[in-house]
């Protein structure tokens, strides 16, 4: 029997009951009375700041009022008209930096209306009782290729299908959902929600998904352009930034995104190996998700090491508080210098940093932490696609996701902008509207 104190990387550090508790719903669903009380706190603001703060422009005061008046399923429709992945967004949106940050009750009393949980209450209510709530327009005879079945691709496909177009989604992995399925901490998407949501979304009809089809490997952009009336790329960021530190190739050093993906797909969390001493390099949501889940799997010591100050971290205050409440230590102003160990990682050497006129510099002072497992969460990058103009390291777009190639649109993490599910949904949706307008001759 292993325990949190078992040296090295080991599975089964915690018993099944503890693991089940650790990975249960982070924000449990409201019951109807809780929802009514929470909904009643909404002031129904004029030109509400929460709507402005929502990347998908959901009419939040309206849907909350619908909940308050006892119509959660109608409320869900208000949400889903704007954001077909409203169910997942309710679970994974960093509401504390979006709608709930803008809520006037946050300003008034530091306690916003719990918009995310209310949205979940509404969307869960609808999905529990109804089939797919929208109907397709008559077939247009147009066929659009969507590459990537992540949030951007799904949102784009759904809107196109609703308009009567036929959509084929080409997905490299064996399952749809993108980061909803393979990323994101397990306690934010319990009970296989990502997969259930995809099934429900496909209820619109007119969408086919071809799995195991990766762009550049199994299909080409030129090929798709030749066989479809339009192409939408929602390919995300397929590559991971390398860790520039001596010994980064040692056993035990890996990518946080892979760690999270394996964890999300695992049938039995007790079978997942995790280090006694885990160090996660990075400061974004991925770093926090990996660190918290390492701790919840039974690692004794988990440290997030970030190269700048806490205020520069990509992870929100809420996420950082969540991590520290689970016992994760957040170490700031340090960069990895070397991973030590004989074949396998045993220790990580970090160097302190300071912000100077020439940018971030090492101070020369170092510290060492025990580290059986080092997880890189220092950003993901686009896998290059031939023929596309780039904007920095992402696909350049204008307007509603138009790339510089005629007939090709793009959205989600592969295009500039915040890498959030809700942003991807907005971009996919808006690109679909633009594709529809183009295909039907309303714009050129």
């Amino acid at each position: 029997m292993t325990s949190p104190f078992t040296p090295g990387i080991a599975s089964g550090r915690l018993d099944a009951e503890t693991l089940a508790r650790n990975f249960s719903d982070l924000h449990p669903a409201y019951d109807p009375h809780e929802a009514a009380v929470a909904a009643d706190r909404c002031y129904f603001c004029h030109d509400a700041p929460c709507i402005t703060a929502c990347p998908t422009d959901i009419d939040i005061p309206l849907f909350i009022r619908q909940i308050a008046s006892g119509m959660p399923e109608a409320a869900a429709r208000t949400i889903l008209e704007q954001n077909i992945l409203g169910g997942m967004c309710a679970r994974v949106c960093p509401t504390e930096t979006l709608c709930e940050e803008a809520c006037v009750r946050e300003a008034a009393e530091g306690k916003p209306v719990e918009i995310g949980r209310l949205q979940r209450y509404a969307t869960d209510s609808l999905m529990a009782r109804q089939g797919h709530p929208f109907t397709r327009a008559p077939e247009t005879g147009r066929h659009v290729a969507v590459v990537g079945a992540g949030p951007a691709g799904l949102a784009c496909a759904h809107r196109l299908a609703m308009k009567g177009h036929t959509v084929t989604i080409y997905e490299a992995r064996p399952k749809a959902g993108g980061l909803n399925e393979y990323g994101i901490a397990a306690y934010k998407s319990t009970d296989d929600f990502a997969a259930r949501e995809v099934d429900w979304l496909l209820g619109i009809g007119g969408i086919t998904i071809e799995y195991g089809k990766a762009l550049g490997r199994d299909i080409t952009l030129d090929g798709l352009r030749g066989t479809h009336d339009a192409v939408f790329l929602g390919i995300g960021l397929g590559a991971v930034n390398a860790l520039e530190a001596e010994g980064a190739d040692k056993d035990g050093v890996g990518d946080a995104v892979d760690f999270i993906a394996i964890l999300r797909q695992a049938e039995d969390k007790a079978a997942l190996p995790v280090g006694r001493n885990v160090v996660v390099i990075g400061g974004g949501m991925t770093a926090i998700d990996a660190a918290v889940q390492s701790k919840l799997l039974g690692a004794e010591n988990v440290t997030v090491a970030y190269r700048r100050g806490a205020d520069r971290m990509g992870a929100s205050q809420f996420e950082r508080d969540l991590a520290t409440s689970k016992g994760v230590r957040i170490l700031t102003d340090v960069v990895p210098k070397a991973v030590h160990g004989n074949g396998a990682a045993r220790e990580i050497e970090l160097e302190y940093t300071a912000e100077g006129p020439d940018g971030l510099k090492g101070t020369g002072e170092t510290l060492r932490l025990p580290a059986d497992q080092v997880l890189r969460a220092i950003g993901q990058v686009l896998d290059p696609v031939d023929g596309l103009t780039l904007d920095g390291r992402k696909i350049a777009v204008t307007g509603a996701g138009r790339t510089f190639l005629p007939g090709v649109w793009a959205g989600g993490d592969c295009t500039p902008g915040e890498d959030l599910t809700v942003v991807a949904v907005a971009e996919g949706r808006d690109a679909a509207e633009d594709i529809h307008a183009t295909l039907t001759g309303m714009v050129s």
């Binding site: 009380v37 603001c45 004029h46 509400a48 300003a107």
Partner: protein, 435 residues
């Protein structure tokens, strides 16, 4: 410590909080517990004639209107008067009064509108040694179909007649309980006084349907798919009750007639407001039905603390103090000019004031860049709606314009002289100043 002792019509009670005649006062068990919990007095559930008692429905008797978090704002009921034999009630009343001589006990009575019926019951009630009687001329449901309750209360001549019979056959205080289901409360109050009643109590419940079931289209409370109007009570009816109490308190024909205030009293503050408008004491029902008898403790402590703070030693020090300030619209000072002011530091930028003013009032609030809301004095008529809908207390206030300044809305110089509609030039009936 303020003295909460109450003397209403010579009836003494340790405090002015009485339980109204209603389900909570239907039997000895409840009334003893109420006194033990601290209630100053009890008006026993209405007694009917000797003989087979009335029967109640066997389905729901109450309907409800909720505010946030299922807070009870109003209840309506279709319960009738006591459904226990008269003799049982009288025996229990006598026992209770003997054991609680310092607490008020009032018998509520409703019998048919003929002299014999009253002549028969009054001596038997007197034998209980209760402190007085209250004539139930108020219940709007059930009994009114049989010519009693509000059917009597809606005909001033009947009120006067029955009050006179009661004074003739009963020698202790007679209180007439009034129904609000009339056009002008002053008429039944005057009738009660003319009939010799010692006091009026009001309001009884308001005729109401609380809600409609949208699946089977039955009014609530639903009895086998049908509903009947009930009597509405609780916090929702308080404003109606306050006005009616004030109307009687300031009517020249009833001025000085003692009033027992009823209608949504839930806290000490509600009680103090009724009393300020002329009620000598208050009666409570819905608050007790919602929270239990213990609620009286807050009322006592609250009223006592407020009286201490204001320097009122006894109840009579403040009873009626608001009555002189209740007036007719025509006497309101038209030279009292105010403007809304928004405290930008307190503002949370919800924009409700703007929506209310822009959509439904006078377009007197600007919404500037960055959700900054500001009052446009040139349009502000001082309606107060922005203050009412603002979720932040004291964020928006109404400030009086000083005399000598110019109201940008009217272009007129503000005067500190009192002037009302009766002398306003726009009033065709204006009383001309003496030549």
């Amino acid at each position: 410590m303020a003295d909460l002792t109450s003397n209403f019509l010579g009836i003494k009670s340790p405090n002015p909080f009485w339980l109204a005649s209603a389900p909570p006062t239907d039997k000895e068990y409840n009334v003893r517990r109420a006194y033990e919990a601290g209630w100053g007095g009890v008006v026993w559930k209405t007694l009917g004639e000797e003989g087979p008692p009335v029967v109640n429905v066997n389905g729901p008797r109450y309907g409800v209107v909720y505010g946030a978090d299922r807070r009870v704002l109003g209840i309506n009921n279709i319960e009738l008067i006591t459904d226990r034999p008269l003799e049982v009630n009288l025996e229990e009343m006598a026992r209770v009064k003997a054991d609680y001589p310092d607490h008020a006990l009032i018998a509520s009575i409703m019998v048919p509108c003929d002299e014999d019926s009253w002549k028969r019951i009054l001596p038997r009630v007197a034998e209980t040694n209760c402190d007085g009687i209250e004539l139930n001329f108020g219940c709007p449901h059930g009994m009114s179909e049989r010519g009693m309750g509000s059917a009597v209360g809606q005909v001033p001549e009947y009120i006067e007649m029955v009050a006179r019979w009661c004074k003739k056959y009963y020698d202790r205080p007679v209180i007439v309980k009034l129904t609000p289901n009339i056009t002008d409360i002053r008429y039944p109050a005057r009738a009660a006084k003319n009939g010799g009643a010692d006091a009026v109590s009001l309001i009884n419940t308001v005729s109401s349907i609380t809600s409609v079931n949208l699946d089977n289209f039955s009014p609530e409370p639903s009895i086998d798919g049908k509903g009947s109007h009930g009597g509405y009570c609780g916090p929702a009816v308080k404003p109606i009750a306050l006005n009616m109490v004030a109307e009687i308190a300031r009517d020249p024909q009833t001025r000085g007639l003692p009033i027992s205030g009823i209608g949504g009293v839930t806290t000490w503050r509600d009680a103090a407001e009724f009393m300020a408008l002329g009620a000598g004491n208050v009666q409570v029902c819905t608050a007790a039905m919602t929270y239990g008898f213990k609620i009286v403790e807050e009322m006592k402590r609250g009223l006592s603390a407020w009286m201490d703070e204001k320097g009122y030693a006894t109840l009579s020090d403040f009873v009626g103090k608001a009555v002189p300030n209740v007036t007719d619209w025509q006497y309101l000072n038209l030279n009292y000019v105010t403007k809304a002011r928004i405290d930008q530091d307190a503002c949370i930028k919800c924009g409700r004031c703007y929506a209310a003013c822009e959509d439904t009032s006078h377009q007197a609030i600007w919404m500037h860049e960055g959700r900054v809301f500001e009052v446009n004095d040139a349009e502000c008529v001082a309606c107060n709606l922005c203050v009412d809908v603002c979720p932040v207390e004291n964020c928006i206030t109404m400030e009086r314009m000083p005399a000598g300044s110019v109201d940008p809305r009217t272009g007129k110089t503000v005067s500190d002289e009192y002037a009302n509609w009766t002398t306003h030039p726009n009033n065709p009936m204006a009383v001309k100043a003496a030549e």
